[in-house]
């Protein structure tokens, strides 16, 4: 498993470059670096855990810029400048094998863009990530693209939109198997699809049905079965339960946890629901306007949130049981990402902001096991509670 090149037993035709061609145009300001190979942990502060072996996924200064300028003629006639949207701006994290990193944040903070970068749907404008020690984006463009795609799979938010309504479930789940040439024989294919359906709590008989015959939760399980078909090691889950009712959400979350235990899967779990994140994750990263503002172990993040934005988010969740804790009222809204405020992007909403916050952008710094990007935390201006 360590050298995916050796497993490249299927023909590659011309299709391998498909993913790269799709995304190259937008990377206007990419500059001349085709994601340089970097030493693990070079720029990011060392993490004190390292339970043998390196993390499966290491993102380093991952950034993605979208060019949202007006068309060329308008720019010339109306003298409009180019406009760049920094959807993800320098995000670094590691995910250990078999663990779950959750990314939380409000809409527009760039969490879904990170997900798309990690599965190779976008190419990064700057930085990159390694998967199992290998530069993933080089692999997505090169000969190893198929191997990489087989090992990294994705579950999407909306199970109504991510399954083809005209395909039978057996074709939906068998597609990745066929595409990667893993199983070609019809009977074996059926067997495997049946196995996959059983593993997500559905019946093998369900393979002869269409997606519309299933409820939302069942459809999401079909998505999971399809993602698992190629036996991936890393699953990127973009809001997998947000479209589901709570009782169904519980079913899907339980299945995802069971599968992780059984198959040693590694998850990147994206959600805006902090209670769900608390339930599934080992580590949590909080994003705000394209940057990580806090990255910590789950326990630490929820018991001792450090960044003012994390505190605000935690305070904002409606609680089922009255905790009696005084809540700071939430103020303001997320600023326009096309025109983010100078300095720390959170400064207009932050009760602790001072002049430094309004001019100098804070870096993600290690602070007692947590990584926080906040001048106020660094200077000890925020009282710990």
């Amino acid at each position: 498993m360590n050298n995916p090149l050796g497993h490249c037993s299927f023909p590659l035709w011309g299709k391998a470059g498909m993913g790269a061609g799709l995304v190259e145009q937008g990377a206007g300001s990419a500059g001349p670096h085709p994601t340089p190979p970097f030493e693990p942990g070079a720029g990011s502060p060392p993490k004190g855990e390292g339970a043998g072996g390196q993390p499966l996924v290491q993102a380093h200064d991952l950034a993605r810029t979208f060019d949202v300028s007006a068309p060329w003629l308008n720019r010339v006639l109306e003298r409009k400048p180019r406009q760049l949207l920094h959807a993800v701006d320098g995000v670094s994290f590691e995910i250990e094998r078999g663990k779950t990193l959750a990314l939380v944040g409000e809409s527009g903070c760039g969490k879904s863009t990170v997900a798309r970068l990690l599965v190779g749907l976008y190419a990064p404008t700057r930085g990159g990530f390694t998967f199992d020690g290998q530069d993933a984006h080089a692999a997505f463009k090169g000969r190893d693209a198929r191997t990489m795609r087989r090992r990294i799979q994705m579950i999407f938010q909306d199970p109504y939109a991510s399954l083809n309504p005209r395909w039978l479930v057996q074709d939906i789940i068998a597609e990745p198997l066929r595409e990667h040439g893993l199983i070609t024989e019809a009977a074996a294919l059926k067997n495997r699809v049946g196995e996959l359906l059983t593993s997500v709590g559905l019946s093998p008989l369900d393979m002869a049905k269409y997606p519309h015959q299933f409820s939302g939760g069942q459809r999401q399980r079909i998505s999971i079965a399809r993602a698992l078909a190629t036996e991936p090691e890393f699953l990127v889950c973009d809001e997998p339960t947000s479209a589901l009712d709570v009782s169904v959400q519980a079913q899907v979350l339980n299945i995802m946890k069971d599968l992780q235990k059984k198959q040693g899967l590694t998850y990147l779990f994206i959600s805006h629901n902090l209670a769900v994140v608390r339930h599934v994750s080992d580590q949590v990263g909080v994003m705000y306007l394209g940057r990580l503002v806090e990255l910590a172990d789950k326990q630490q993040l929820f018991s001792q949130p450090r960044h003012p934005y994390t505190r605000m988010l935690l305070d904002a969740i409606p609680k089922m049981h009255d905790t009696g804790r005084a809540r700071t009222p939430v103020q303001g809204e997320v600023p326009n990402p096309l025109n983010p405020p100078p300095g720390c992007a959170f400064n207009p909403r932050c009760p602790f902001a001072n002049d430094r916050c309004r001019s100098e952008r804070p870096q993600l710094l290690n602070d007692g096991g947590t990584r926080v990007a906040c001048h106020a935390v660094e200077e000890g201006r925020i009282p710990r509670d």
Partner: protein, 324 residues
């Protein structure tokens, strides 16, 4: 006396393959100034209950029997014209998606003024002033300028504030809010909930808050009705229902919500799914999924009965009563 009284409401959809009963014998009431939450999974009939009250049932859906009374007056059988006067004047409505409930071609001010003039005897200058005041009350900064902006110039949270201002335009006594915060981010959601609570308190308006988010219910409501398969499964004071649920469905629902206070290895799950309308089981609709099911549940349909501090439609409580 209660402000709104819903009695044995039945809503049916005639289809080629027979009539589907989407709401079956739903009864509840809302007192003046009270906030009643309505929760349930998608398809449980919570939005349909709201739509019947504001008289916006989509045909072929129709109220087949039962009554809806507002201040003692029946409103479920009113002709369209009369219902239009009640809607807006006496009952305001807030829907989930603020972008689709505002007309993109008119400024926010035009829409507010139109609503105000339709219901209140005012000059257009007075109406405009009132519109500005409403926008101010709902926390929109620089309301004097913002009133001439179009909906797309507002952010999601601000748009929802405009929708709330629209609902309040003619000082209705009842507001039906159908998933008012579902499309919003948590930090904005908290602001909108706070606003809804304060504004209803100061104006004495009652609210029927339809949502699937138990946290929102816990923070906002006085009482809560839990719906399942077109019926009210349990209704009672919000903290009783959350902390001491009496219906097995409510218990399962509460236990399946991941919470912020404790860690659990697995979430409780209710196996199976809510039945489809054309295949509602005989007896209690929840019986195939119920962990405490017994013979009577499969034969007879339970009505709401007292169960501790709440009312639950569950034979367990009849059994307890008879045993006592």
């Amino acid at each position: 006396m209660s402000l709104l009284e819903v009695q044995n409401l039945v809503v049916e959809f005639p289809t080629r393959r027979g009539t589907l009963r989407a709401l079956d014998d739903v009864s509840f009431s809302i007192a003046p100034g009270e906030i009643l939450g309505v929760v349930g999974e998608s398809g449980a009939g919570k939005s349909l209950t709201g739509a019947s009250i504001i008289g916006l049932l989509e045909p072929p859906g129709r109220v087949a029997s039962g009554q809806i009374r507002l201040e003692g007056q029946r409103i479920d059988n009113l002709p369209h014209e009369q219902m239009r006067h009640i809607r807006g004047r006496k009952i305001g409505a807030i829907f989930q998606d603020p972008l689709t409930s505002l007309n993109p071609l008119y400024t926010v001010g035009q829409q507010l003024v139109e609503t105000i003039l339709a219901h209140l005897p005012m000059s257009s200058a007075q109406a405009r002033q009132r519109a500005i005041d409403l926008l101010k009350d709902t926390g929109i900064p620089a309301a004097e300028q913002r009133i001439d902006h179009y909906p797309h110039q507002f952010s999601g949270g601000m748009r929802q504030r405009v929708v709330i201002a629209l609902a309040l335009a003619a000082e209705p006594q009842l507001i039906v809010a159908d998933e008012p915060t579902t499309a919003l981010d948590v930090s904005i959601q908290a602001q909108i909930i706070q606003l809804l609570k304060n504004i209803c308190k100061t104006r004495g308006a009652a609210v029927m808050l339809i949502t699937h988010d138990m946290g929102v219910i816990a923070e906002t409501c006085d009482r809560v009705a839990v719906m399942y398969a077109g019926r009210v499964a349990e209704i009672g004071p919000v903290h009783e229902v959350i902390n001491r649920p009496a219906h097995p469905y409510t218990m399962g629902l509460m236990a399946s919500i991941p919470d912020m206070e404790q860690d659990r290895e697995r979430l409780n799950q209710i196996d199976g799914a809510m039945p489809r309308l054309n295949a509602i089981p005989v007896g209690c609709a929840f019986n195939p999924r119920c962990p405490q099911v017994f013979d009577r549940c499969r034969a007879e349909r339970p009505d709401l009965m007292p169960a501790g501090a709440t009312q639950a439609a569950c034979w367990l409580h009849a059994a307890k009563k008879e045993a006592a």
